[in-house]
């Protein structure tokens, strides 16, 4: 499947043996298969509990809670018309979260691989562009990049703003993917380094990092989907003027 971009190839000599964490087999699709199997088993088990009027199966209850959480986040950030984005956000959240959890038990994970993260970020940002074009029209979406309307000789400034906004739009991909990759792969490297620290006294000190890594897993899945929601709300927020100030501070943070 070709050369995958890991911290080892990025760091060169500093990374050592190319992101291998002690296992003899590695490769993105092995771990992606594990993630898909876990998701399928969990969701198939959860679907059986849908027959009752009250959900008695714990997997069904958890999935319902997850759905409510995602719905709350999506509708809270995007607004009333954000309900149609829930399937995308939920799919992104589940695949990122399960991949991160896989990284706790296995030597590496899909999200510890920059190419997979870049694919997820491209899907997310590409969908944001598509939604922006659907909401504002193609010309409207691209004139959105040029900032406020300026007349006369200030068109030059508009051109500069356009170029800078275009660069920042491309950098959104890099920032989304590099943040996820850096956190998960950085956690691996920290565990490996701390294990080497305790190798002399036969104590795997790195295992004490697992609670911190669990927190990182949840937060990174949350942040990826949260930022996707914010980007969608930035390109489609003209439709409801009533809640303008409610995500004004989110736009400021971006």
């Amino acid at each position: 499947m070709g050369e995958v971009l890991t911290a080892g190839t990025l760091l060169g000599a500093a990374g050592g043996e190319g992101g291998a964490h002690g296992a003899s087999y590695e490769g993105l699709f092995v771990y992606l298969g594990i993630v898909v199997v876990i998701l399928f088993l969990f969701l198939a088990n959860a679907k059986q509990g849908l027959n009752n009027r009250v959900f008695k199966k714990w997997t069904t209850q958890w999935t319902e809670q997850l759905y409510l959480f995602i719905e709350n986040m999506t509708v809270g950030i995007i607004g009333g018309h954000g309900r149609k984005y829930i399937p995308l956000i939920m799919a992104l959240w589940m695949i990122i979260f399960v991949s991160n959890i896989v990284s706790l038990f296995f030597p590496t994970a899909p999200t510890a691989d920059l190419s997979f993260n870049l694919a997820l970020a491209l899907i997310s940002i590409g969908y944001v562009q598509w939604e922006g074009m659907k909401a504002n029209g193609v010309a409207g979406h691209f004139s959105h990049f040029a900032g406020p309307k300026l007349g006369g000789g200030l068109v030059l400034i508009s051109l500069m703003i356009f170029v800078i906004e275009l660069i920042s739009e491309v950098m959104k991909n890099v920032s989304l993917s590099l943040r996820l990759f850096g956190n998960i792969e950085g956690g691996h490297q920290a565990v490996v380094a701390m294990n080497e620290l305790g190798a002399g006294v036969y104590i795997p000190i790195g295992f004490f990092l697992l609670p911190v890594k669990l927190l990182t897993c949840v937060v990174q899945a949350l942040i990826f989907t949260l930022l996707t929601c914010v980007y969608i709300s930035l390109v489609t927020h003209h439709e409801e003027e009533g809640h303008e100030h409610s995500h004004g501070e989110l736009a400021g943070a971006h």
Binding site: L10, I77, L178, R179, G182, I223, L226, A253
Partner: protein
């Protein structure tokens, strides 16, 4: 030699980013204790700000070695 400079640079980047993260957490906690009813909104904005500050350190770790060719 370059490795030593890189290590020092990573330390400096970690210092700055730690100060930034601390400031975000400090002000978010202050805001939460003043207005407990706004905890949800403050937490959302805080997480986004944390992510953007954290990215600076990740960029330092992953981009600087490539540009220094070590």
């Amino acid at each position: 030699m370059t490795g030593h400079v890189f290590g020092l640079g990573i330390g400096l980047a970690a210092l700055g980013v730690a100060i930034g993260l601390g400031l975000i957490g400090y002000s978010a906690m202050q805001g939460m204790s003043r207005q407990p009813e706004a905890i949800g909104k403050i937490q959302t904005a805080m997480l986004i700000a944390l992510a953007f500050v954290e990215l600076v350190f990740l960029l330092t770790v992953f981009v600087v070695p490539g540009s220094l060719k070590i």
